[in-house]
């Protein structure tokens, strides 16, 4: 075995320059791909994180059919003991209850439709950093009876902290929900949608307003890493029964999924083209390496080397070329990736504006995972085996007598 490996290895260095060119083409392909994948995956995770922490959470539990009907009638009650168990699930970092409904709000002669969200202020802040979005007034306390108004709404209604506004809507099971409540704070959202539609009140106040004691419409979950989404979802599902529905972020935000998929596949297509080019480079190298050794192959088969062994040696050669490239490319990409994980690229100009309008900070954080490197290893292994087709066919067809005659 050792002698076969030595043979394959030394064969590579018969033409140093050619081998180095082949290896460096793999090197650059892998380097470029890993860095690009790191950036793509990093930005997806970041987008997902930003989106879910703005509102939905990675996972939500709600009453059956609530997601489609969006009515208080599909609200639910959850035993506090079960909520306690939810909080103990590994990787869960926040469990956030809400009671949401729509309502008309008016001040003076202005009336708007708003999304009224009853929250547990402390847990809400853990997930969405709501407190930090405060631009004036004070944040809610557990039982406060004031309103936290989105800045856009405040502008339209020309309301400021201290003014009282009228809420008028429908409560649980057809009851009327009406109240006059003071604005105690104003919060600013980057997403225009949210900024012109949200008002927050404390959960007990909401339950009173909508005549829905002990009820909530959703329980949102944050987790420490998206890697644990599946297992956490399983654990949550295990604690719920058929009255509830467990939804992951991708079901709640299909547009984001679509955007990521589109962007991801364009990235993959680019890499595919790159790898096809590299693949042919390797193929050509292996082809030359094979063709120039026809007499040597002739001698080896004549003296008694089985073709399968000879093919094995040539496959080793292609694998060596490829893996020198993969390993060196991966190692070279590490410092770059780690640097950008620590110091995300800050975007400027148009892209930055677009990202801001979607509520994302204009940065490109990187990400690292074993999968990124495995992808490269698989791809390059496929290229190596593809390139090995040439020597395989060549040696299969080789007649030693002809090979010896040259």
């Amino acid at each position: 075995m050792k002698l076969y490996i030595q043979l394959a290895w030394r064969n590579l260095w018969r033409n140093k320059r050619r081998t180095l060119i082949a290896v460096s083409s793999v090197f650059f392909a892998v380097f470029f791909s890993v860095v690009m994948r790191s950036m793509q995956k990093g930005s997806y995770d970041y987008m997902i994180y930003t989106s879910v922490s703005t509102f939905t959470g990675y996972i939500q539990v709600h009453g059956k059919e609530f997601w489609d009907k969006r009515s208080l009638d599909q609200s639910m009650t959850i035993e506090p003991s079960i909520v306690q168990q939810f909080r103990k699930i590994p990787h869960v970092t926040a469990v956030v209850p809400r009671l949401e409904s729509f309502s008309l709000i008016s001040y003076g002669s202005a009336t708007k439709v708003a999304s009224v969200v009853g929250i547990d202020p402390e847990h809400e802040d853990q997930m969405t950093n709501l407190k930090s979005k405060l631009t004036s007034g004070t944040y809610l306390a557990d039982t406060s009876q004031g309103i936290l108004l989105a800045e856009g709404l405040a502008k339209v209604l020309k309301v400021s902290v201290g003014d009282s506004i009228v809420l008028y809507g429908q409560g649980f099971q057809g009851t009327t929900a009406a109240a006059l409540m003071p604005v105690t704070g104003v919060v600013k959202f980057n997403l225009p949608n949210l900024n012109t539609s949200l008002i927050y009140i404390s959960l007990p106040t909401a339950q009173w307003l909508f005549s829905a004691p002990d009820r909530i419409t959703s329980l949102s979950f944050m987790i420490d890493n998206i890697r644990h989404l599946k297992s956490t979802t399983r654990n949550i599902s295990a604690l719920t029964d058929s009255r509830y529905e467990v939804m992951t972020w991708d079901k709640m935000m299909p547009e984001l999924v679509q955007y990521i998929e589109a962007d991801n596949s364009s990235g993959i297509i680019m890499l595919l083209i790159l790898y096809v080019v590299i693949g042919f480079g390797i193929f050509a190298t292996v082809m030359m390496l094979t063709n120039e050794r026809i007499r040597e192959y002739g001698v080896l088969i004549s003296v008694g080397m089985k073709k399968a062994r000879l093919i094995f040696v040539t496959i080793l050669e292609t694998i060596f070329i490829s893996f020198m490239g993969v390993i060196s490319g991966s190692i070279a990409s590490l410092p770059i990736i780690f640097y950008y994980i620590k110091n995300p690229i800050v975007l400027t100009g148009k892209t930055a504006e677009v990202m801001l309008s979607f509520g994302f900070e204009p940065i490109l954080p990187f990400n690292i995972s074993a999968g990124m490197f495995l992808e490269q290893i698989y791809t390059v292994l496929i290229i190596a085996l593809f390139s090995a087709i040439y020597p395989y066919v060549f040696i299969r067809k080789l007649k030693p007598v002809k090979a010896l005659r040259g």
């Binding site: 043979l7 018969r14 001698v299 003296v303 008694g304 080397m305 089985k306 007598v401 010896l404």
Partner: protein
């Protein structure tokens, strides 16, 4: 029983426009321990005959028995295995793996035979010493002269413990001094180890050293004589 027996061997190359009859009804017997040369003008069929004896090529018709085996009945992989264990080869050129040292080249064939590492190393050194290359064991082919390379090839041919060694014009690329010295080496190995050699050549000084000279003309054996003067050497 002869070591090698050709019975009514015909070989016609028919891929060409005009089919070439390279061997016609060749009957030949070679005994163990012989030191025989196949000679003849260019195109007379020497290489074809050696290739058929070595199982590298199939005859068009006729039977060939080597070491008691009818080799025309062997499948391809069996044939390769048969060559590995029964026949040592020395070619005119490109015999050696260029990236291997002399010792590794000799060891390689024993590796194919799955001989243990210690045994391989021991025998490689022994054989390289026997062919006069004790001090060049770790040289690569490119660092050796043509004559030295052919000696390594002879050492490799012997390393697999074959029944006989086939050499197609082993001296063709050598100057006459190296050619004679290679022949002397082969003779010594023939004499001391009883190794059978069958080789082809053009070179009259090499022919002189053969114990038996089989002359081919137009694919037929024109003469087959014992060289008594060579025996006396």
């Amino acid at each position: 029983m002869p070591l090698i027996e050709l019975k009514k061997i015909c070989k016609t190359y028919s891929e060409t426009k005009v089919p070439v009859e390279a061997l016609r009804d060749v009957d030949l017997e070679i005994e163990k321990g012989e030191f025989s040369a196949i000679v003849g003008p260019s195109g007379s069929g020497k290489t074809t005959a050696l290739n058929i004896i070595g199982g590298l090529d199939d005859p068009t018709s006729g039977q060939i028995i080597v070491d008691g085996h009818d080799i025309s009945t062997l499948k391809k992989d069996e044939m390769i295995n048969f060559r590995l264990h029964h026949i040592g080869f020395v070619f005119q050129a490109y015999n050696l793996i260029p990236v291997f040292t002399a010792r590794e080249n000799v060891e390689f064939i024993m590796l194919l035979q799955k001989i243990s590492k210690e045994e391989r190393e021991k025998r490689a050194i022994e054989l390289l010493t026997a062919v006069g290359l004790a001090d060049r064991i770790d040289s690569r082919p490119s660092e050796l002269s043509g004559g030295q390379q052919q000696r390594v090839a002879v050492a490799r041919a012997l390393a697999s413990h074959p029944s006989f060694v086939l050499a197609d014009e082993p001296t063709a690329n050598l100057d006459s001094k190296s050619a004679i010295s290679l022949l002397e080496l082969m003779e010594v190995l023939n004499h001391e180890y009883g190794m059978t050699f069958v080789f082809s050549t053009h070179d009259s000084r090499v022919i002189k050293r053969a114990h038996r000279v089989i002359t081919l003309v137009d694919g037929m054996i024109a003469s087959d004589v014992l060289n008594t003067s060579a025996h006396e050497n």
